[in-house]
Assembly symmetry: C2
DNA sequence: TTGACATTACGAAATCCTTCGTAGTAACCT
DNA sequence: AGGTTACTACGAAGGATTTCGTAATGTCAA
């Protein structure tokens, strides 16, 4: 499979674990997730199997306990999700997106500064 | 119904129309959407009925052709969607969200300027 | 009034998502 | 070898989503 697909909510949760931990077994993913919420072992297994067939993860079957790894780097997937929502919800307006993202919460001075820095950098690369 | 729920992808599409047009009949919504993609009349009707029971829209049954209206203003719903994704995908980091949203496309000078203006304004209101 | 037409109500199929139970299989220990 | 444990594979239930067809009902003109 070379075609990445859009992950569902549950799949995204698993991808988060794989991005954080790197290649992991079902047991490891399950332990990480079930620390936060109850979820059956075979549920995680099944999800990883589905994700394998969708091309969202790759599976190393060398060892008895298969090792799963996210197919796409976190950056790429997150970018796709952000772009998709930008289009679907905000008609492609980044300003609107940021306005709403900021409105719902309290951003620290540091974060605002970071956002400014990102804008500078973006503009510099643009030309 | 006073509890708003999270709209699905199709429901969001309909909300877009209602936000743009204001209160509309099934026929009007259907015409607007089917200008872009084929979709049966009763499909739109059914969706609006479901959305009514979910509390996403309100229905005025005065006239024979019922008139539907978005329950929540666009701003509020968009804010919720943005906040939800911010949390789920970007662990609450607005910078990360914007970074990825910008990365996938070309933003005009005007848009960058607008983003800076928003940051200024946000900071001003904060203190 | 009756036929044509617009509209709503309802049911249901097809697909996807999420979750888990059961069965099979391999490995390991005594 | 036999029993226990750790895995994977598979099927399937239950719910949500999306889509549409058909039936029922109201409206209006001839």
């Amino acid at each position: 499979m070379t075609n990445p697909q859009k992950p569902t909510v549950s799949e995204l949760e698993i991808l988060h674990v794989l991005w954080e931990r790197g290649p992991s077994t079902v047991r490891e993913v399950h332990e990480t997730i079930s620390a936060k919420k109850p979820l059956g072992y075979t549920t995680v297994l099944k999800l990883l199997q589905i994700m394998t067939s969708k091309g969202l993860v790759k599976r190393d079957e060398q060892e008895r306990a298969h090792v799963y790894e996210a197919w796409q780097p976190a950056e790429k997937t997150k970018r796709q999700i952000a772009a998709d929502m930008l289009q679907r919800v905000f008609d492609g307006s980044a300003s609107e997106l940021m306005l709403h993202a900021l409105a719902e919460r309290r951003s620290s001075k540091q974060e605002i500064a970071e956002l400014r820095r990102l804008l500078d950098e973006y503009e510099r690369k643009q030309r």
